[in-house]
């Protein structure tokens, strides 16, 4: 706002990128993270992750299908969205978005399809009526299922999983690059941005998988696979340490350089972002899960308590990553390019780009995931019970 001590350019009184742009990297982060986890099993043969690999893959798909929704809601002219692929201007980092997104979507769909083909054929053979018709469409009318086809399917799954890792990193690192390459913005402009985004993506991917995996099993009163959960929680611990340290080192290096940039950014950190960044993101939702995961990873505790603690930590890290997206996307826009003040933003509740719509956008992928479970069952029930 324009106050005696603060000046913002007149066009900066309204910020351009709203909470919708906060949601996009949040959702794609979970997509990329979950996909990478599933690839660890498929590509690197980590058997401990087998119980969760399919779940991770289908989660990735359900999030990916909705990742572009907040962007479409935000566009001033959503009906022209395909211009980005029809007339891309390659001097712009954003012009590759449509291609990267579509390419990745195809990879994920193919991988899901190939890894479920066998199950889908069986379902097709056992189902009746309309369901049979749907399954016939999904399997493209091909019921060939023998040793040879299964071998080829598996090979292809490994290929797509391996190929998908760099593409997942590109999809999400690329979002970081979009922010990091804006030289006009003091808070965004850093080459580290895309690396920070990749690591935070893996954190959010692992966190959402652990959170849902435990939640679904609790709901179904089934036992979780302890090896798998322990391994993932240790990874979560490791990746969150890297993600948080990277982010803090970035701020530290700006602070140490003490240029004019820091003079402005320290006011941002100690002012407008103090609550969401310093207190919540770093104080509560980074240090908290770090301590919890340190305890669960290093000390022997009763399984039930440990699992609960891991569940809490993963939930907290999901909030931490959301806060990080908020602090980056909104925080960067609060700084006036006049370097003399800060603007204000709070999303409306019932507006087109408000909180209710945001909540719906976050919830829908989870509902879709529940629906997907009917077509692509995530967990092989017998094995979990054993």
């Amino acid at each position: 706002m324009q106050t005696p001590d603060s000046f913002v350019f007149p066009n900066e009184l309204h910020i351009t990128w709203t909470v919708m742009i906060v949601l996009y990297p949040y959702i794609t982060g979970m997509v990329a993270g979950a996909f990478i986890v599933s690839s660890f099993y498929h590509v690197f043969g980590m058997e401990k992750l087998k119980p969760i690999a399919r779940f991770a893959l289908v989660s990735s798909l359900s999030f990916l299908l909705f990742a572009a929704v907040p962007l479409l809601i935000h566009l001033g002219k959503p009906e022209r969205a395909f211009n980005i692929m029809l007339t891309p201007s390659f001097s712009s980092a954003m012009s590759g978005f449509g291609f990267v997104y579509t390419f990745y979507l195809i990879i994920v769909i193919l991988e899901v399809w190939l890894s479920y083909r066998r199950d889908l054929i069986e379902k097709y053979l056992t189902s009746k009526g309309f369901a049979k018709f749907i399954y016939k469409i999904i399997i493209l009318g091909d019921v060939t299922n023998n040793e040879e086809t299964r071998r080829i399917d598996k090979k292809l799954v490994i290929f797509f999983a391996a190929f998908g890792i760099p593409v997942a990193c590109i999809l999400h690192g690329y979002v970081g690059f979009l922010f990091g390459s804006i030289k006009a913005n003091l808070w965004w402009s850093t080459p580290l941005m895309f690396i920070i985004f990749i690591f935070s993506a893996i954190v959010s991917g692992l966190a959402v998988l652990i959170f849902l995996y435990q939640f679904v099993h609790w709901l179904r009163k089934k036992k979780v696979n302890q090896d798998s959960l322990d391994l993932m929680s240790k990874w979560l611990w490791g990746f969150m340490i890297i993600a948080v340290i990277l982010e803090l080192m970035e701020v530290l290096s700006i602070a140490y350089e003490r240029t004019e940039r820091w003079a402005v950014l320290q006011q941002l950190i100690n002012g407008k972002l103090q609550f969401t960044y310093v207190i919540l993101q770093i104080g509560v939702f980074s240090i908290g899960p770090f301590l919890i995961l340190t305890v669960t990873s290093l000390f022997k505790i009763k399984t039930k308590i440990r699992n609960f603690l891991i569940w809490c930590a993963s939930g907290m890290l999901l909030i931490q990553v959301l806060l990080m997206r908020w602090n980056v996307v909104i925080g960067g826009q609060l700084v006036s390019k006049s370097m003399r003040g800060f603007t204000e933003y709070f999303p409306g509740i019932f507006e087109k780009e408000g909180l209710v719509v945001s909540f719906i956008i976050i919830i829908i992928p989870f509902l879709l995931l529940k629906f997907f479970d009917k077509i692509f069952p995530f967990f092989e029930k017998n094995k979990i019970n054993s």
Binding site: F9, N11, G76, R80, T87, P88, S91, S95, I182, K183
Partner: protein
């Protein structure tokens, strides 16, 4: 005799008034070459530039009002605006631009007796040679015209807002009604008829000047050859084409 003197006096009066009028017509007439744009190649002879003389602006806001009327600029957004800088004896600085100075400036920020230096700075799109906004537009809707004016194809813009983020001068905004990006065009529709941009036309102090940088005889070239000037945020490598005379270090 007395009658003759009166007649002579009136004659003299009429002739001298006519002389001053005709003389001033030539003295103040725009000596710039008239525009002759008949083909694409003619456009290549032009490179439109802009000069803001910060020592002449009085902050009346006539330019902001003229721009709003000429270009139908939505409320609370600005294609041009005027900033006021006031520095007091303790070297404290206050900058403001209430409603872009469309209603000019009312009260001083510091008591008048304490102000040691004050000036007004009109701002507008810099039409940079290396515009970050054109670089980042994902669909090619922002572009340089052949005569080096940064324009937006409103029929093609998707309204993503990436250009708004990329502009270091905050000269762009999303027109909420139209859903597309919007900004100063140097009144492209006017300059091609040989008319000055609305803001230049409205300025009572000639603090704003525009012209063809490619023409060595143009007024803008002559001023740039004679006066010292600065550029806004030159360190960002955008190569802006708005030249600020008497640019104070406080102006960003």
């Amino acid at each position: 005799m007395e009658k003759m003197e009166r007649r002579q006096f009136i004659k003299l009066g009429i002739f001298s008034t006519a002389g001053v009028l005709i003389g001033s017509f030539f003295a103040f007439a725009d000596n710039e070459k008239k525009l002759e744009v008949k083909s694409y190649n003619d456009l290549l002879n032009y490179d439109w530039g802009y000069i803001v003389d910060t020592s002449r602006c009085i902050g009346c806001g006539a330019c902001v009002r003229a721009c709003k009327m000429e270009n139908n600029v939505p409320d609370n957004y600005f294609r041009t605006w005027v900033e006021r800088y006031e520095i007091n004896k303790d070297e404290k600085i206050r900058v403001d631009s209430p409603k872009g100075a469309i209603e000019s400036f009312k009260e001083n920020n510091f008591p008048a007796s304490e102000i040691v230096k004050a000036f007004f700075v009109p701002k507008l799109c810099n039409h940079c040679y290396d515009s970050p906004c054109v670089q980042v537009c994902p669909v090619g809707a922002s572009y340089h015209s052949p005569d080096k004016v940064v324009l937006i194809d409103k029929e093609h813009c998707v309204g993503c807002g990436y250009c708004v983020q990329a502009c270091p001068y905050s000269c762009r905004y999303i027109n909420q009604e139209k859903g597309t990006a919007d900004k100063c065009t140097f009144c492209y529709h006017r300059i091609h008829k040989g008319l000055a941009p609305a803001c230049v036309n409205a300025c009572p102090r000639n603090a704003r000047l525009y012209g063809n940088l490619k023409d060595p005889e143009s007024k803008i070239r002559k001023v740039l050859n004679q006066r010292k000037y600065g550029l806004l945020k030159a360190e960002l490598g955008t190569n802006p084409k708005c030249y600020y005379l008497e640019l104070d270090m406080e102006i960003k």
